[in-house]
Symmetry: C2
Amino acid sequence: MTVTAPAGFESAGIAAGIKRSGALDLALVVNRGPSQQAAAVFTSNRAKANPIIWSQQVIVDGRVSAIVLNSGGANCFTGPEGFQVTHRTAEAAASALGVSSADVLVCSTGLIGDQLDGEVLEEGVLSAATRLTTAGGDDAARAIMTTDTRPKTVVIEGDGWRVGGMAKGAGMLAPGLATMLVVLTTDADLPAEVLDRALRAATRVTFDRLDSDGCMSTNDQVTLLASGAAGIAPPLDVFTEALTAACRDLALQLQADAEGASHDIAIEVRGAVTDDDAVEVGRSVARNSLFKAAIFGNDPNWGRVLAAIGTTQAPFDPYLVDVSMNGVRVCHAGRPDAPRELVDLTPRATHVLIELHAGEASATIFTNDLTHDYVHENSAYAS
Amino acid sequence: MTVTAPAGFESAGIAAGIKRSGALDLALVVNRGPSQQAAAVFTSNRAKANPIIWSQQVIVDGRVSAIVLNSGGANCFTGPEGFQVTHRTAEAAASALGVSSADVLVCSTGLIGDQLDGEVLEEGVLSAATRLTTAGGDDAARAIMTTDTRPKTVVIEGDGWRVGGMAKGAGMLAPGLATMLVVLTTDADLPAEVLDRALRAATRVTFDRLDSDGCMSTNDQVTLLASGAAGIAPPLDVFTEALTAACRDLALQLQADAEGASHDIAIEVRGAVTDDDAVEVGRSVARNSLFKAAIFGNDPNWGRVLAAIGTTQAPFDPYLVDVSMNGVRVCHAGRPDAPRELVDLTPRATHVLIELHAGEASATIFTNDLTHDYVHENSAYAS
């Protein structure tokens, strides 16, 4: 029960032969309507993969019939040939489903710079189209995995309507967005412009606050498809709340499966002047290799927190800052407070609270520690 | 032959008892004149250690008689008590040398948040002052080491004058400046405002382009002391060139000794519109954990280079970019070029050339790879 949990959606996940391992590597999600409205947000990396370039054109009119996702290759920096592969993938889906290729989104994930085989993709799409079912969501969620150790899915129940979702991503997780592909579905009956507002509001406080390793992907895409099959149009705030819950759930699943991580770290910043300041402060800590290595070593090294936040432009006085780790305030007003020995960092879930005492705004950034396994996995990825 | 190579300087390095290991931990460098002009640049981190706060006041009038440096504790986020320790250290040197404490710089390095013992510092300074010699530069260079595996020194010969220097730093190496203390000396006879111009010009293209791990320290300071003992006033450009050579030599020694590193990576960016653009592009790669882990694994993963530079604001077209690694062009115009198998990344010295084809400016950023040893050293530092 994932992207096929809401009414109106069918899906399939197959082994198309893109991955040499023979694992599932191609997913197809189809919106059977009656409505086919959609919204999407994309990586802000200027180095965009071919499927991103394609999909940014498809989404313009707010109408999407289907989305094809493949693992086993990012189709990024593969030149005009690579763009032809994306186009051919969309055409194959359009042909099999009897829709326009201009209404077919494409997502790819895997190694940058490797050419995908267009024939393999085309045959895979045609095969997947013959296996579409309303129970196909779980296979689809498995087919988009790369270094993920488990599929990531979610279902949120509305009042007579649902939001379903799936996500992949295990590294290169950073803002705007993370290295991830996400497909969200709903049977609520909402127009594209409402879906777009809800999706941007939801991603801003969820996926955009996930920063596993500071590395921004070339292939990120979060797509929301609405079938209208429930025949209900919930109010924007109610729908946004459900969608945000779905996004937060998936974001935390991504964090929990980050490559090589041994701690899931929530960096909560309070007392900032603005939300953006709170995010900047939290992110500076989330991206500090020395802090992340210390957490791996169960070392509550609050000095590295202060050294990190001192590099930001956010207004606050470093000598008024309090820092707590897992409930123990180790730094008060920029000076040592409780003995660091009192902090227990052995649990995977880690909470760092930074109180700036400069204003009323707050934000939480979700990150991971820097571990031997992270170095190992990312030094061996291409081999 | 280091900071005491130019005429007019005496130095000592002793074990004052700050480090529990009994290793050398306190250095004193004295300018015997006839001139006592000086310049200094400091960390741009807003979280500044107490010795930085002190030294920024001392340098204002451009006159410095002596500098005290200790390892074994950063004296950062130690409150008013910590500032008192810095003040007491300067007073001790002033008293022993018969100068004003307002002409004594102080530098500290080590763990953030630990209080230093003022009495130990004071006794150490008084002891060091009795051991000053013109051969004391090597001991001084050893006394400022923390996780450094070797002392870092330099001497550059001018026409009748010299520049000498010492540096410490092995991690937290990032721009503006790095986690490092540097003392440069010269017997050239130049006023403080000329020293300041030369020092800023030299650090901008050397230490500021060293970015080992993206982590900016709270204690960085680069100091230049001029004794005038050579009785020669070289032209600004000649002096700046010698000073830049000294800074570059020390910066490369810092890079070569970076914590846990197995590769010294020079990221050369050509064809940028401005120098600042070239620096931004180079730095985005230097700070990309996935790229750094790939280099550790001898994997010429050029896709991660393009994904990194795509996050910058520098003007260029990602699909015109060429990337070469150790002389092999693996990416041409944003597409795969020579097979990555041709790249030999086994040497420690690694050259990544990024040609943007957007303008005429260039810059080289010096960084290191992300290794198991880096994670280990920085997860265990405080324990």
